[in-house]
């Protein structure tokens, strides 16, 4: 009942993922738990109304301060039907984008590790959100997603079961999947 690697002997799959580096990192970090402690962060500045701008650049990991090669910014806002200006994606949509990005990165990595050549990977993520929660209309309705559905469309050199197994493994190792599926302690303070 072990997961047998497809084509591992002649692993010519190239999905652009440096699997050797990932496996090497895994090996190295098993003996160095402190180095595995990362902190990701984003800064945010209000622009106007429900529009604000988030930026990522610095993070911490491998025992040292790290940085993206350049800052990346995203404007978030509410849409017109919320009587707002639609200057960017809504924050909940950013979470769905994060989930898609994380699962897809996982699909590419797992597929490569298993010798599966991907030709195309597309996904649609939907989050059901009952605004009676955030509008304070009904205390029994949660503010967040009532459910999330991800639909993958994948063209690859593998059987349907093999592709499904890649998707299953991607979820098992996805940071954002865990962040959305499981509870996380959040502390918000005023400096």
């Amino acid at each position: 009942m072990t997961i047998t690697d497809t084509n591992t002997e002649n692993n010519t799959a190239d999905n652009g993922v440096n699997v050797e580096a990932l496996l090497g990192a895994r090996e190295m970090l098993s003996g160095a738990p402190a180095a595995a402690q990362f902190t990701f962060s984003a800064t945010n500045e209000w622009v106007n109304g429900t529009h604000s701008r988030s930026t990522v650049k610095e993070f911490f990991g491998l025992g040292d301060d790290q940085s993206h090669r350049q800052p990346y910014s995203v404007d978030t806002d509410h849409p017109g039907i919320f009587a707002s200006e639609d200057n960017g994606p809504t924050p909940p949509e950013m979470i769905l984008m994060g989930l898609a990005g994380c699962l897809t990165a996982g699909v590419a990595s797992v597929a490569q590790n298993r010798g599966i050549q991907l030709r195309s990977v597309k996904s649609t993520v939907e989050g059901a959100l009952d605004v009676a929660g955030i509008l304070g209309i009904d205390p029994d309705v949660r503010n967040g997603f009532g459910g999330v559905r991800v639909r993958f469309e994948i063209d690859a050199d593998a059987t349907r079961d093999e592709i499904q197994a890649v998707i299953a493994q991607s979820q098992k190792r996805s940071a954002v999947f865990d962040a959305v599926a499981n509870p996380t302690a959040i502390v918000v303070e005023l400096v």
């Binding site: 079961d161 499904q164 197994a165 299953a168 493994q169 098992k172 999947f177 599926a181 499981n182």
Partner: protein, 417 residues
């Protein structure tokens, strides 16, 4: 209290592993003693629930020089019957067993191992720890965080539904024990919620043959520890969602859900009065379904390539797990009992802490410890996939005995210098 007694080998544990080891040592004419804290097959007598039956069919209870002697080789023995099977074995091999002896400490110095017990010390040239892998139930930290009115039960303490208080039961863990207990409680009329994490499902029979017949036949149970990709993961595999029953029925999530058990994701926390469950339930089920399909594909391939298709039945595949959307939380005020079917961790309170890793696990290579003369037996996938099964301790004991003989010979050679 006895003065120090001397022998070549001390075997700790008088269950199937200890007895198998004893037989292998006897065959090699090695002087030894078996120390058992209770009675022969103690855990089978005192730590199993009333309706428990083996997961494996009776013919798969082979031991060195012994096999099932009953009249139902394809059936599944009860715990009492297993104890009787092992008792008969003990008598037949004249195992030098001392009952009521509890090991307190093992100290190893220069090739000698002193085993301190409640009955006085033993000095030996080798020690085989055959205490099994199911001694200490593992209860996750969140247990300490639930309301005080809740009664906590583990599979070691569970006996039957009447022992639980009325009201809701939360069973945490959906491997063999959790699923069987949830099923039994729900059939007795109790309201059961089952928290489901990683699990492995298989049909009881496939194409007319018991699933363990298949696994034994294709050689999977004999897979060696040095042949698997991820040994750590293989050793942590949850027990199969199976039950041993005269009807050879399947036991899976769809069935228990249909019988009224409310399914939830993995228990991941508590917030106020609510127990929180993971939203990963769908993936847990899909993963289990895929894994089952992979194994059944492998079985079909084996049958085809070994010309078995003609005599085997048709391949009827189990349906994918089907249940209504799982619970994400439940109110702990309506739960009166939590059954922690969350696995076991072996414990070695009598061993030096530096023989264990940072998670309290024994450091060993196929049962051979780094300290010369110390061995283990009966651990999950210790040397083979079936190492912790009744049928697995024999081949492992034979291997360990071979290594031990070499150790004793080397020991003598050096002590004569």
């Amino acid at each position: 209290m006895n003065p120090t007694r001397t022998t070549d080998v001390v075997v700790i544990g008088g269950g199937q592993a200890g007895l198998a080891m004893s037989q292998c040592l006897t065959v090699q004419s090695i002087d030894h003693v078996v120390l058992e804290r209770g009675d022969t097959a103690n855990s089978w007598r005192t730590e199993r629930w009333d309706s428990l039956r083996l997961l494996t069919p009776n013919w798969l209870a082979r031991l060195p020089g012994w096999s099932y002697r009953g009249d139902d080789p394809d059936g599944y023995m009860s715990a009492t019957e297993v104890a009787a099977h092992l008792d008969a074995y003990r008598i037949s091999i004249s195992a030098p067993i001392r009952t009521g002896v509890e090991v307190i400490r093992i100290t190893s110095t220069g090739g000698r191992h002193v085993v301190e017990t409640n009955d006085g010390p033993w000095s030996a040239r080798a020690v085989v720890m055959a205490t099994g892998a199911s001694s200490n139930p593992h209860v996750p930290g969140v247990a300490g965080d639930v309301p005080g009115h809740i009664q906590h039960v583990t599979p070691i303490g569970y006996r039957n539904p009447s022992q639980l208080a009325e009201g809701g039961v939360l069973v945490v863990g959906a491997s063999a024990s959790g699923l069987q207990i949830a099923d039994e409680l729900s059939r007795s009329g109790m309201e059961v919620t089952l928290a489901v994490g990683d699990h492995v499902r298989l049909p009881r029979t496939y194409r007319g043959m018991d699933i363990h017949w298949w696994m034994d036949t294709i050689g999977q149970l004999d897979e060696r520890y040095d042949e698997v990709d991820d040994l750590d993961r293989a050793r942590r595999l949850p027990s199969l969602q199976l039950i041993g029953s005269p009807e050879r029925r399947d036991l899976d999530l769809t069935t228990v859900a249909r019988n009224g058990v409310a399914l939830a994701g993995r228990l991941v926390g508590r917030s106020g009065n609510r127990a929180q469950f993971s939203g990963s339930f769908a993936n847990m089920c899909t993963s289990a379904d895929l894994k089952e399909r992979r194994l059944l594909d492998r079985l079909d391939e084996y049958a085809a390539s070994h010309g078995l298709d003609a005599e085997l039945g048709e391949a009827t595949r189990p349906s994918p797990t089907a249940s209504s959307p799982p619970l994400l939380e439940t109110d702990l005020r309506s739960i009166n009992t939590i059954v922690w079917a969350t696995g076991f961790r072996p414990a070695y309170p009598w061993l030096d802490a530096d023989l264990l890793d940072h998670k309290g696990r024994l450091v060993h290579d196929g049962g051979v410890l780094p300290v010369p003369g110390l061995y283990a037996l009966g651990l999950p996938f210790m040397r083979r996939r079936k190492s912790s099964f009744l049928d697995g301790v024999g081949p492992d004991a034979t291997d360990i005995a071979e290594h031990l003989v070499g150790h004793l010979a080397h020991d003598i050679a050096h002590s004569n210098i």
